[in-house]
C-alpha cells in the first residue's frame, strides 16, 4: 500500500479515479503522485481500493451534505472514517453543497439525490455549514476540506455572491479549501462575473487542493464536463492561483469517459506538473 507523504513540500499531481486510470498508471510510470477516489466508489466497488498498491489515495466524498439541513447518518460517517483510516488519506475533500434535503411532504423521508447541488448562498447556510462541520470533524483523524460548487442557476434567497460565500465559510469555519477551478469558472460565466477579478478575492491562504476538468456551454449555461479536457481559461486560472498560493495537490478530473484521449491526458498531466514546478 502506498501513502501520500504528508510532510512533502512538493505539490502533488494526481488523477480522479475513472475507467482509464489503471491503464494510464501502467503506461506512464512516475507521472502521477496519487489517485483521488470517491468514498462512495470504495463503498460500492471495494476492489477499486487495490489502486493503492500502485499509488497513494486521496479520499473524496459526496455523502456528508455539508451545506444541507439533513445530516448524514452515523453509519455513513463511520464508513467514511473507516476508509479515511484505511487509505491514510491526508485529508477528506467534501463538497460545499447538499445532496440530501428535507421532503416537501413532511411525513416522507428526506429527498436523497445522486449529485451534489449548490446551496443557497446566505448567512443561514454559512451557519449551517459551521454547525455541520462541528459535528463532522471530531469523527475523523484528518481534516475535512471543502470544495466550491458549480453554480448553474441563481439559488432563491441567496444574499451573497459565490466568492463571498466561499470566503465567509472558510473564515467562519476555519476550514481548508479545495478549489475546483472549473466549478469556479462555471459559476463566474453563469453569473456574469469576471473570473480573474473574483478569484483574487478568494482566501487562497487556505488552499489545500485544486481540481481541474473540462466544461462546456450548452443550452445557454456553462456545465461541468469531466469527459472533455480543461480549457485554456481553466489553465489561466491555475496559473493565476499558483502565483499567489501553494496548494498541496492538483487533481485532474478526467474521469467520465473511457475514451478520453490518452495523449491529451498525458499532455495535461505533464503541463500541470510543469506549472507546479514538479516536472
Amino acid at each position: 500500500m502506498k501513502y501520500l507523504d504528508a510532510s512533502s513540500d512538493k505539490i502533488a499531481v494526481g488523477l480522479a479515479f475513472g475507467p482509464i486510470v489503471p491503464e494510464f498508471i501502467a503506461e506512464s510510470p512516475g507521472l502521477l503522485d496519487y489517485v483521488e477516489v470517491p468514498f462512495e466508489q470504495l463503498l460500492h466497488t471495494p476492489e477499486v481500493g487495490s489502486i493503492q498498491d500502485s499509488l497513494p489515495i486521496i479520499l473524496h466524498c459526496a455523502s456528508m451534505s455539508v451545506a444541507g439541513f439533513v445530516p448524514p447518518d452515523e453509519a455513513t460517517l463511520k464508513l467514511v472514517d473507516r476508509e479515511a483510516k484505511r487509505t491514510k488519506t491526508p485529508w477528506i475533500g467534501e463538497h460545499l453543497a447538499f445532496i440530501t434535503a428535507d421532503p416537501l411532504d413532511t411525513t416522507a423521508s428526506p429527498t436523497a439525490l445522486t449529485y451534489t447541488v449548490c446551496p443557497q448562498l446566505s448567512e443561514e447556510t454559512v451557519e449551517q455549514v459551521a454547525c455541520n462541520l462541528s459535528r463532522l470533524r471530531p469523527q475523523f483523524e484528518v481534516p475535512v476540506i471543502l470544495e466550491n460548487s458549480p453554480q448553474y442557476f441563481d439559488v432563491p434567497g441567496s444574499t451573497m455572491r459565490m466568492t463571498e460565500f466561499i470566503g465567509t465559510v472558510v473564515e467562519r469555519c476555519d476550514v481548508g479549501l479545495l478549489l475546483d477551478l472549473t466549478h469556479f469558472l462555471i459559476s463566474m460565466i453563469n453569473t456574469e462575473q469576471d473570473e480573474a477579478k473574483e478569484i483574487d478575492r478568494l482566501p487562497l491562504e487556505r488552499l489545500v487542493e485544486i481540481h481541474i476538468s473540462g466544461l462546456n456551454v450548452q443550452s445557454g449555461i456553462a456545465w461541468d464536463d469531466h469527459a472533455t479536457p480543461a480549457t485554456e481559461a481553466v489553465f489561466d486560472l491555475l496559473q493565476r492561483v499558483l502565483r499567489r498560493a501553494r496548494p498541496r495537490a492538483v487533481t485532474l478530473e478526467y474521469n467520465w469517459s473511457p475514451s478520453f484521449p490518452r495523449s491529451t491526458l498525458k499532455k495535461h498531466v505533464e503541463r500541470v506538473r510543469e506549472m507546479v514546478g514538479n516536472s
Binding site: 436523497a112 432563491p156 449555461i221
Partner: protein, 262 residues
C-alpha cells in the same frame, strides 16, 4: 425564503423532474412550498436535471463513445438528457448498461426529430454503436454451411450465416465516425440520403458492416431460413418466377458469405 425550504424544493424537483414541469405550468404551487415562483429558474433546474441524468449514463460511454461525442459536438447533451429526465420521470433507470441503452434508444426513437440533420445523425450513430456492441457480446459459432455458389432455383431456401442486425439509415455512421475523430468536426460534411446496413457477425472473431442496396437489404430482412427464393420474390412484390435482379442480389449475398443455401 429559508435555505432549508429552498433546498427541499430544488431537491424534490431534481429527484422528480415531472414536478418541475408541473411547477412550470402552475407556478403558484411553489408558494405552498415556501418559495417565490419568480425567484426560481425552473428551466435552468430542468437543464440541471438533464446534466445529472447525463452523468448517471456515463456507464454507457464504453459502448457508445461516438454517440456521446456527437451529443457533445452538436451541443445536444443537455437538451437530450433534459427531455429524457422528464420522459423517464417517476421510473428508476435500469440496473444494467444494456437496459439503460435500450431505454435511452426507446426514448430517442420517440423524441428525436428526424428532419433535423443532427438528430438523424444521432439516431443512426446510436443504432450503429448498439448493433456493434450487441454483436460483439454474442457467442457466435461459425456456420459450417457451404459457401459454394449453387445455381439458385425457385425452390432454394436461403438462410443467414451467423448473426445479423439490419438498419436503414439517413447517413453513413462510418463517415460520421471519421468526422468525429477530427478536432473540430464538421458534421455538415456527412452526406445524407438512403443508406442500408447489415451488421454481421459470422463467427467469434469477425464483425463486419456491410453496405447494401435497397433490394439486398429488404431481401436479407425477409430471409428466415424457411421461405424459398420464389416465396421471397413474391413477398417483395415480384412474381414467383425469379427475375434477374433478385437472382443477382441473392448471388451477391452468397458471394459475401452472409447467406447460404443448404
Amino acid at each position: 425564503m429559508s435555505a432549508s425550504q429552498v433546498h427541499a424544493v430544488i431537491a424534490a424537483g431534481l429527484k422528480e423532474p415531472g414536478l418541475l414541469a408541473r411547477w412550470k405550468q402552475e407556478p403558484e404551487m411553489l408558494r405552498q412550498c415556501g418559495v417565490d415562483p419568480d425567484a426560481i429558474d425552473l428551466e435552468a433546474l430542468l437543464k440541471f436535471a438533464g446534466l445529472t441524468t447525463k452523468v448517471r449514463h456515463n456507464g454507457l460511454r464504453g459502448d457508445l463513445p461516438l454517440t456521446f461525442r456527437l451529443l457533445n459536438i452538436a451541443g445536444l447533451e443537455i437538451e437530450v438528457f433534459r427531455a429524457y429526465a422528464i420522459f423517464h420521470a417517476g421510473k428508476s433507470f435500469g440496473p444494467t448498461v444494456q437496459e439503460r441503452i435500450d431505454d435511452l434508444s426507446h426514448f430517442l426513437k420517440q423524441w428525436l426529430d428526424f428532419d433535423k440533420r443532427e438528430h438523424a445523425l444521432l439516431w443512426d450513430l446510436i443504432r450503429h454503436e448498439v448493433a456493434l456492441a450487441r454483436l460483439r457480446k454474442l457467442d457466435v459459432i461459425a456456420d459450417a454451411g457451404s459457401m459454394v455458389q449453387h445455381r439458385v432455383r425457385a425452390s432454394s431456401v436461403p438462410r443467414v450465416r451467423g448473426e445479423i442486425i439490419l438498419h436503414e439509415m439517413q447517413s453513413d455512421p462510418r463517415v460520421v465516425e471519421t468526422l468525429l475523430s477530427q478536432k473540430t468536426p464538421k458534421l455538415e460534411q456527412a452526406p445524407v440520403g438512403d443508406f442500408y446496413f447489415c451488421y454481421w457477425r459470422p463467427n467469434a472473431e469477425d464483425l463486419y458492416v456491410l453496405e447494401l442496396d435497397a433490394l439486398g437489404f429488404y431481401l436479407l430482412s425477409a430471409i428466415d431460413g424457411k421461405r424459398s427464393a420464389a416465396e421471397l420474390s413474391s413477398q417483395l412484390g415480384g412474381a414467383r418466377k425469379l427475375r434477374s435482379g433478385l437472382l443477382n442480389s441473392l448471388a451477391e449475398l452468397v458471394g459475401v458469405g452472409v447467406i447460404a443455401f443448404d
